[in-house]
Symmetry: C2
Subunit: 301 residues, 2 copies
């Protein structure tokens, strides 16, 4: 990812949930922001922003359990909105924005926690990109924020905690206090590994190849089906179901017994979910599909 | 440390600097609090609290560069103060409260970042004990807070970030979001090591023994002198000077060349500082004193 000269990278201790408050504190100058609700984390960010001003839901996919990304080409965004907010990849539901919203000239703020460094990003399209590092980059407990420098100011509400004011960390190059050194160290190792392995273009190719193996299987399976509309599918998180809760439970139990971990869907949606982040090799996806093929043969009525 | 039944332990991502805001947000019900200023971190906590109500300085040792702990036996604490705040061990200045302040019935809040798990603590004397783990307990990026349960409420100002409201983490046993798992894992290892090595009573004995070696040397040295009043001396951080800035610089350079790391005093006070946390063995202190004896012989005019 090329970081343009007019953007600053800061390392923030904690998780994205803390930044949910930091975004409106630092950006809601006129007291209004547009939120696109594509899942639980976008909704939590939206609810948090309501504490600090008028957060307006301008699109949502709640009507179909967040199984798609809404059309964001012509949203009703208030002219005086300070920013438009998205959660770009929705871990629980397996969706991803393939096209960024038409913000109609407003600043775009994106939580990229679960797609960070999975593919190249044109930073200039955003005002703020931020993500917890715990999916593709490093151990939990650290957020990396990439912020357009003109958005880093002292003009924040008086109640803004020093540590949530972006300028605090920007002015001190993220060393205002002792940072999460171990997580930053590991992130550095991952950055070097990515660069040594073809950078983000190559990461994208690997991720597309891995996801295609799984989606192609799901699209022809007579037992399993993906839960996400094809044009909203994440490269990172692939939820699927059999349509029968008992059979889903059997699949989760048997796959776990076979050494395939963490295939149970998030407790809020059920079913199964394969998270195939950068660290998951192609062979892991192939093993999963092979297991699913066997399971289908044994269980298809 | 025995945690009484009516106290809750929560793990907070980030550092003490973030808790500086969390304390007044969660505790300033009447909008007033008493702060004892014994160094830079106490002062930062005090300044942060001013954003959220009336923070009152009831004692300070700023007059002598924080080289002592003020007498806190009879402070002028407003009756309607919500709490009394201290930084119990002051890393930069090498002081420690040997006697807790007489809070006159008010809740005591203590930042124990740099003396956490160095000795036994009677938790019941405090309303809130909190500390960044990065000195004695684990890697930076995590705070452990021990909070009397009646102080954990939903009654916080509307602008309080969800992640700074203690009840958020208390209700979810610190799993509201993905915590700093690695740091918590390492803390667990350290807890087990401490328990297997005599617990906090034994830790205190080891720390007193280590500190005595250094303080005894300083008290008889003709070249070096400790900067802290004897009855305020920390077991963890031992600052000392020769009284000659050039000689201090020579000591720092030569000790570093001899493999003794991090002896330079904090940039705000100069001189030298030996931090002898739990992880520093007695042999490390003996090596330092031996080096200081040699340096004194060579440099005493």
């Amino acid at each position: 990812m090329n970081i343009p000269d007019n953007y600053k990278v800061i390392f923030v201790q904690g998780g994205a949930s803390l930044v949910f408050a930091g975004v409106p504190m630092n950006l809601m100058k006129k007291g209004k922001a547009a939120y696109i609700i594509t899942g639980q984390w976008a909704k939590k960010a939206y609810q948090e922003a309501q504490k600090y001003g008028e957060a307006i839901e301008v699109a949502s996919s709640a009507d179909k359990t967040f199984s798609y990304i809404p059309d964001c080409s012509d949203l009703d965004i208030p002219e005086d909105a300070d920013y438009v907010y998205i959660c770009e990849n929705n871990t629980i539901y397996g969706t991803k924005f393939k096209t960024l919203p038409n913000t109609k000239g407003h600043i775009l703020v994106s939580d990229v926690s679960s797609c960070f460094l999975s593919e190249p990003v044109d930073v200039t399209k955003y005002g703020v990109i931020y993500g917890g590092v715990q999916k593709n980059v490093g151990p939990a407990g650290l957020v990396i924020s990439i912020i357009r420098e003109d958005l880093i100011t002292d003009d924040v509400p008086s109640y803004t905690p020093t540590m949530l004011k972006w300028k605090t960390q920007a002015d001190k190059d993220s060393l205002y206090n002792t940072p999460n050194c171990y997580a930053i160290y590991i992130c550095g190792k991952v950055f070097k590994w990515l660069l040594a392995n073809g950078g983000l273009e190559a990461a994208k190719q690997r991720n597309e190849e891995k996801a295609a193996i799984l989606y192609n299987f799901l699209d022809q399976s007579k037992l399993f089906k993906g839960t996400v509309e094809p044009n909203s599918r994440s490269l990172m998180n692939v939820p699927f179901v059999t349509g029968d809760a008992d059979l889903d439970a059997k699949f989760v139990a048997e796959s776990k017994a076979a050494g395939l971990e963490n295939l149970k869907g998030h407790r809020t949606v059920g079913g199964m979910r394969a998270s195939i982040y950068n660290a998951m090799p192609k062979a892991g996806v192939e093993t999963l599909v092979s297991f699913m093929e066997d399971f289908e043969k044994k269980n298809l009525k």
